[in-house]
Symmetry: C2
Subunit: 340 residues, 2 copies
DNA sequence: TAGCCATTCTAAATCGCTTGAAATTCAGTG
DNA sequence: CACTGAATTTCAAGCGATTTAGAATGGCTA
């Protein structure tokens, strides 16, 4: 006998009141006699009633959920702990507010657009978290005209029409390159990420600008596509150049770690012959050989902050156009002054 | 003027039929005149109608969603690409079937129980994917009596009452240790993961059994807690032992990679003085110095298979009690015969 | 004692879709 | 020509909450 879950009607009957009263009581509206409220509450407790999210979503016209759509080719999904950490942070806030997190993973842009439209049209979510912003990102268009609040997580893009929570990665990358410059490096290369992303650009531009500002020649670049294989390949490429760089700034730690191994394999001593700086400060960075100097930020904190901000947006509150969170430079042993 | 989304009534009006007919048509029930169906379909297309998931969930008594609750301490969330990959695989199947994926991340067991109960009671999901099965896991209890289908992803535990999709990690681990034995190693240590998990146990037990079966002495063990820091610490511990092992089998790649660095730091040459085998075959493993020999399985495929199976369960179909997916041993340069 | 108000509650409509029962249509039959 | 039955289509009752307008109650005031 499949004992069905109690409904609000069962609670009402048990407490000897109408369903309206139960609803009013449990949603903390005032105007309910304390004694009645008490009766309702004990009926709820006795029956173990939990309001149906389905019914609630329909009558409140709120899904009580937020969505995050991840577009990455399959092989890039697991390369960094970014999403796991972000989601963990987001969740720690959402779960306290009775909001669910819907995650969708898509492979290409076409599917992505469909996913946003479907989730919106079906009314599954009340707002979106947007990641991996691209150069000419158009996602705000269908979000804005669907009237759903949305928020970008990551790098603040100049004049993007949605609020942002993230880190000034330009400043972060500049700090990394600055560190190399201060050590005395003059030929500083860069291994960049997947073209098109705002954060790829921010890191690369900051590197270029920092060199220019210091009056140094523009160093060599190679794309590592954010993968270990790409990082290894790019490292090989940079180290094979005629005027070999004495330092390389990598757009993420995964590539930097692969770069470390590649250097070892080529017999290039780090940091004596080559200084290496990464980006992300993944846990392994501190336990590499040599431990990796890198830029980090607290991704879980990003998650917490952006969830909080998105919930506020959903409630109709105003939020700052940009929330900039700090980064840090973890100084370890993969950087040193260049050898004479 | 916030142009509201069309409802089924708008479509019905436009097509000159009742809402029942629209519903019947769009849900592919037979018994609708082809000509009428055509009119309905064009009305749907013209208005761009998409059925409301909220209303549907209520009337069909189906959430059209599955849930996954991840319980890990914050610092372990991002350590491996497991969840990202699993979710990517799961999603590739779910998205085709109009099911959403709800992700919840909790920190401890108490929150976990609450999360399962809440998701179930609120009716947010039609089924669960269970990961990180523990030794005396009780999750089946509240799932079974809530009547929700659920499925374990990962290591098949003997006599666990829910169906499983995963890999025989015992066999996988045995293969890894066997490889070391065949190379001629006699003192083989193990760096284990977080105690309590089925997979931690499976890997450790398989290691012990393989040694015993080969008539070798039981090697030293240390827990690395699945983290890089832990892996480094454990490695240091094993290498400091009086009878230093000539090979170490790590319960995951992260620890093995940290182990590689630690060995380098201690001046222990890999693979000449120490062979290292990991578990996971993360992308970086192939680009470590030296490239890491490790056991891998296709986590995205796990995701696809378990999503498919869970959907079948939700439809009320029968599925095999256990679906065992393959693993592979990636032979690289971190293992070699022991030096005399 | 009638009139007023504030406080509590409830009836009933609503959210947008699904679905079983009933109504309608119409060709085929006897 | 009435009757049967298959094929279509519609009615209307849910699904389980929320919410608004208004009813009931009771204490006070004039």
């Amino acid at each position: 006998m499949p004992h069905t879950r109690p409904t609000i009607a069962d609670v009402a009957r048990r407490a000897g009141v109408s369903t309206a009263t139960v609803s009013l009581t449990m949603n903390g509206r005032y105007g309910v006699n304390p004694a009645t409220a008490e009766r309702v509450r004990s009926a709820v407790a006795e029956l173990g009633w939990v309001p149906s999210a389905r019914a609630r979503a329909l009558s409140r016209a709120r899904a009580q959920a937020v969505g995050i759509i991840i577009r990455r080719p399959a092989e890039l999904i697991g390369v960094d702990p970014f999403f796991s950490n972000l989601i963990a942070g987001v969740e720690s806030v959402l779960s306290r507010s009775e909001h669910a997190l819907l995650v969708r993973v898509v492979g290409d842009r076409e599917q992505e657009v469909l996913a946003y439209k479907a989730m919106t049209a079906e009314g599954r979510v009340d707002g979106f978290l947007i990641t991996d912003l691209e150069m000419r990102d158009r996602r705000h268009e269908y979000l804005l005209d669907a009237g759903l609040p949305a928020l970008v997580v990551g790098v603040p893009a100049a004049r993007y029409p949605l609020p942002v929570v993230g880190t000034d990665e330009r400043a972060a990358a500049r700090t990394a390159v600055q560190h190399l410059i201060e050590l005395g490096h003059q030929r500083i290369g860069h291994v960049s990420g997947v073209a098109g992303y705002i954060h790829t650009r921010a890191r690369q531009t900051a590197w270029r600008d920092a060199l220019r500002a210091a009056g140094l020649p523009r160093g060599p670049v190679a794309s590592g596509e954010f993968t270990a294989a790409g990082g290894a390949r790019a490292t090989r490429e940079l180290l094979a150049a005629p005027a070999r760089p004495t330092a390389i700034f990598y757009a993420n730690d995964l590539m930097a770690l692969a770069g470390l191994s590649t250097a070892a394999e080529l017999g290039v001593a780090v940091p004596q012959q080559l200084s290496v700086v990464g980006f992300d400060d993944v846990e392994l960075a501190a336990h590499a050989a040599p431990p990796l100097t890198t830029i980090g930020r607290d991704t879980q904190e990003w998650g917490r902050q952006c969830a909080t901000a998105l919930l506020a947006l959903i409630e109709g509150a105003e939020i700052p156009r940009r929330t900039i969170l700090p980064f840090h430079l973890a100084l370890r042993q993969s950087t040193a002054p260049p050898q004479r």
